[in-house]
Every structure is written in structure tokens, then in C-alpha cells.
Symmetry: C2
């Protein structure tokens, strides 16, 4: 500092765990984690490399002062360690790197939703289109969440099937990633992808063709909650639906939707339903990563997330038999239900 | 939980300080602190009251599930403690409550800026109007920051003046709060408020009249960085300028601006310049509250914040004598310079 201005003790942060400075810096760091992931900094540091800020920015055409601040935020909570412009992974790197998609989902995908929280918690602020999220950013994060969290458990569930799968239907198929997985797993399989978004269906079709499965899938533009029997659904033996089941709720509507799916897909032998539920029975101070943001975002949006107990109380009434529930480790309260 | 679904250990968070879950939950809590402040929850809890969520929401017409999530986020990091719908202040409450305006500045005032961080760190994403902030929210937070941080030190500086103040000018006067303070402190004082925003000047005029000082102040719509001598500035003995000095920079332009102010206010005897600078000499793991967000936001916006050392290196060259620097405790690197 300078001779002139004294340096009060208060200008050093009290980083007692949970202290205001630690809490505040963690919030800044959360945006920095998502940013560092998108610009490729986490990948560079993950293989133990020492990153030089000016060189990294030059190679990627990034704004040096902004990137310095990004690393300062990460360093403030131990995700990285800085010596001048040299950056290496810090003590918290590995755990935060595994969870990077959840930070991105919160700060970028749902950043505008949360930035409007003071308005949205007021009933008077909840009229019309009262919130916005970044769908592209959420898709970006969810691909990583699926790959890390659901795909391994999904593969186990498929491996455990006791019949040859010849025709599948993926409900809420998005850009077709899951259908392509299924086509790889079951040579010769045919399938149907259902989604409400035409743009997404076009890219799903292109994706299937690009992966060499052109013509193997039909894509149906429809609301999964309002399907009926139709020729394209005939012969579907395996039904999959991931990350959208909570939209079937509240309970009465969920029971009706599950019944309707029974009728719309008369030949189905197994229904793999993967979703994240509201977490119960965890003390406030022990909430795992993602849970708080996932539940708060849906409360803000007015979506009443079911608990696992609530899920497991609707299957019988809906004409489905719960054969097995395969828990997914992260995010918490995630599961793949095998229904028959 | 249910009989059916096992409860993996991973569904309990590892809240080791700095661990991913603690970091993540702190980010959600930061939005909740700002929200709890705006809806009045912090005030209720601050006087030791026990808050009942449904009753609190009914009295204020708030959305109960969203407010429950808000308190869950605060409870996850110890700002509050919940028993069902009963909420009391937690171990971290006092410190976080003092810092509430900084959380609001980050998550609400600058929420959209930070949510666009992955784009803005790319040079290709920095063209045109490449960022947006919530000016009203920033004003809301800054009023509290001024009241808690700058006003007490400002009062000391005024008390130390060794001449009777008859005419003042406040540069960047905003909605006139500081001019009214000065009018209360110096009976009979007259003054000029300069600001670039006409809307703000109108509310400043109304504020002055409402406070009983109608006709005592003239309001000048102008860019503080481009003023010249004029009759309305004649006789101004005390010049004040708060929270905008960093906009005078880079250095060469700052020197020119300070020189210009010397010329525009020929009768000035004291210039009280209050601002927050870039903090130097603090280790990454000891950054105090606000500093990281303030510096990151300005780096993202392309504003090169000066350090205190840089500030103190321009006065002499600009024709001003630095009589005293009064440090402000929070936010760090904040100071009121007394120039003669």
C-alpha cells in the first residue's frame, strides 16, 4: 500500500468457514467456475498443467483483465492457486471440477432467474412470463450431468434387460443423444423420439443421420403429457424418459399421464424413467451440491417437485409395476425407475 | 426416504469449508441474502424475532414455496436456523446482515453482468452494448453502502473543516442525498448538484424540496468529466464527489479531469473525494467481502480501476494538495481524500 493511506485490519477478509467474506467470494467463484469451464481453463488445469494467463488468453482470444479476475475468484476459495500470471489447480479443484456443470446450471443457465428472485418471490411479480432461463446454457450443462451421472446407471439398467430390444421410444428426446446410445447398444433397433420442440427434433434427426442411424428413428412433435395410441408407437418394447418426469406433476396429472403412456404404448415391456426428485431427510447444513439450486429454481418457477416417496406412491395406481429403483449418486435424489 | 430407494452416502453433502457443496450452497445463499433483505426478512430476524414463514408471506403477499427455498438456502450456510416453518437468526447472521448490500450489488444489481461472464470474457463477445446491469438495484444497494461505510467518515471529514461552508457542489449528486446531508450540517448553505442523468436530477430536486431545502440548490445536467467555469460554480468552497472518481481514469484523463475541476471551481477550498479502489497486497485466500465482485465487474465492463497508490500519484500533478486520506473500513480500499 502507500505511505499515505493506512491499511485497516478490516481490509483483510475473515474467511472463517461460512463467514460473510467466504460466502461472498464463493458466490463470485461460482460464476468463475462456469466461465472457466466454458473457455477451457478447467480442462487445461485438470491434467496438472500450469496455465499462463496471457498465453492462454492469446490462444483463445480472451479478455486478459476479465480472465485474471476469473482466476482471482477461483483462487479466493482454493479452486486454483496463482503465482502472478501462473495458475495451477488448487486443493478444491478436483471436487469442483466434477461438479462444474451444476455451477454452470445455477449461474449461467438459471442466472437471470435467480437475479430476479426478489421480484419473483412476490406474488405480484409472478404474472405473465415472469421468468427467463438460458435454454442453450441449460442444455450445455445437462449434457455433462447426463454423461457423468445418469449414463452409467442407464447402461446398467439396459444391461439388465431380460429381452431383446427391437423398438424403443424416448420421451423428451431432445437432440437425440439417448436414441443414438440405444441404437449403439442394440444393433438393428428402431425407434421413435418424442419432443415438443420442432427445432430440437430437426437437430435430433441430423444427429441420428450423422451417427449412421439415418432412417432408423421417427421423430414425433408432441407434448409427452398428451399422447395417444398411433401406428408409429406400435411395437415399442422399451420406453425411456429422462429429466422431464417432474413436469408430469402434480400427482393427479402424473397418474393420468402414466396411465395414458400405458395406453399409448400397448406393447411396452419396460419403462426406464430417470429423474431428480426433491431431497428429503437431509439437514440444512448438509445439503449436497445442486439440490438447493434445483429445488429453489423450481419453487421460483412454480413447479412443485415430487419427492421419491411421492413418485413411488403413484406407479401402482397408474398401472405400472415398480421392478427396481436404481439410485444415481449425483445429483442427490436422482434415480432411474424400472417399470413394467 | 422410502423403502424402495436406497439413500447413497453421496446424497449427504460434504460441507468441508470450501468443498464443492459449501461453495455451491454459498452461491445460492448469496441470491437469498439479497432477496431476504428486499422482502424485509433480515429486518425481522435482526431484532431477534422468530419468523413464521406462512404468516410472514401472508402479511407481505409473498410466494410461500419460493420463500421456503430462500430460507433453506440461508440455513444451508448458517445465516438462519429453521425448525419447520419457524426461522431464527443463525450463527452467521450478524456478519452477513452487515454485508447484505454487497450481496445485493453482486447478485441482483450485477446479476445479469455475471450471468453473461462466459461471453464477456471473450473478446468477440465485447462489442456494442455488451453488458447490462440493474441501475435501480445498484442504487438501492449503494444507498446502504454509503450509509454504513462512507457517511460516518464523511461526517468526520466535515467536522474537521477549518472554515465556514457557505456554498458546496456535489459531483455525481444522484438523487441528492449528500446535498441534503450538507444542508443539514451547514445551516444556510447553498449548493450545486451535477449529474449526467436528467431523471436523477429531477428526483434530487424533489428530494431537496421535500426535505425543506427547496431553492437552496441548483441542479446542473452535465458530464462531470467535461465541466468549465460558469456563474453557477462561482463561490463554491467545498467540492464533494463520491463513488465515481474511478470513472475519471485512465491516468492521463484523470489528471486532466482533476485539473479541469480546479479551473471550473476557482473558489474551492476543500475537495472531498470518496471512492473504492483496487485492493493491493491481500492474499487470494484473504479477500474481504465485496472486493472480488467489485474488481471482477469492472474488469468485465472494461473499466481499469486505479489502486490507492495510483490515486495518490496523480493529485500533485493535477494541481491538488492531498491534505489527508481517511480510510473507510468496508468496503476495502475505500477512502475519502481531503484535497486542497
Amino acid at each position: 500500500m502507500t505511505e499515505t493511506t493506512a491499511f485497516p485490519a478490516a481490509w483483510l477478509g475473515d474467511l472463517a468457514p461460512g463467514g460473510a467474506a467466504g460466502l461472498f467470494n464463493s458466490a463470485v467463484a461460482a460464476f468463475a467456475v462456469a466461465t472457466a469451464w466454458e473457455v477451457g481453463a478447467l480442462d487445461v488445469l485438470d491434467d496438472g498443467s500450469r496455465l499462463d494467463i496471457p498465453g492462454f488468453c492469446a490462444a483463445r482470444d480472451l479478455h486478459v483483465p476479465s480472465v485474471r479476475s476469473m482466476f482471482a475468484a477461483l483462487a479466493s476459495v482454493g479452486v486454483v492457486v496463482r503465482e502472478g500470471d501462473a495458475v495451477v489447480a488448487g486443493p478444491e479443484f478436483a471436487e469442483v471440477h466434477r461438479a462444474k456443470a451444476f455451477f454452470h446450471w445455477l449461474t449461467i443457465g438459471c442466472g437471470e432467474l435467480f437475479a430476479n428472485m426478489p421480484r419473483i418471490v412476490r406474488n405480484s411479480g409472478r404474472t405473465g412470463e415472469f421468468f427467463r432461463r438460458d435454454a442453450a446454457a441449460i442444455g450445455f450443462a445437462c449434457r455433462d450431468i447426463n454423461r457423468q451421472a445418469f449414463d452409467p446407471v442407464f447402461a446398467e439398467a439396459l444391461a439388465g434387460l431380460d429381452f431383446p430390444v427391437r423398438k424403443v421410444a424416448d420421451l423428451g428426446c431432445g437432440s437425440g443423444g439417448r436414441l443414438v446410445q440405444l441404437a449403439r447398444r442394440f444393433p438393428g433397433v428402431r425407434g421413435v423420439g418424442v419432443d415438443i420442440a420442432p427445432a430440437v427434433l430437426r437437430s435430433a434427426n441430423q444427429h441420428a443421420e450423422a451417427e449412421g442411424f439415418g432412417g432408423r428413428f421417427e421423430f414425433v412433435e408432441a407434448d409427452v403429457r398428451a399422447l395417444g395410441p398411433e401406428p408409429r408407437f406400435a411395437g415399442v418394447e422399451l420406453l425411456t424418459c429422462f429429466m422431464m418426469g417432474h413436469d408430469f406433476w402434480p400427482r393427479e396429472r402424473c397418474v393420468a399421464t402414466l396411465r395414458m403412456l400405458r395406453a399409448a404404448f400397448p406393447d411396452v415391456r419396460r419403462f426406464l424413467l430417470g429423474d431428480t426428485a426433491r431431497l428429503e431427510g437431509v439437514p440444512d447444513r448438509e445439503k449436497p451440491v445442486f439440490t438447493l439450486a434445483f429445488e429453489t429454481a423450481h419453487d421460483l418457477m412454480g413447479v412443485d417437485l415430487p419427492t421419491l416417496a411421492q413418485w413411488e406412491g403413484v406407479f401402482a395406481e397408474s398401472g405400472w409395476r415398480l421392478l427396481r429403483a436404481r439410485p444415481v449418486e449425483v445429483p442427490a435424489a436422482s434415480v432411474i425407475y424400472e417399470l413394467g
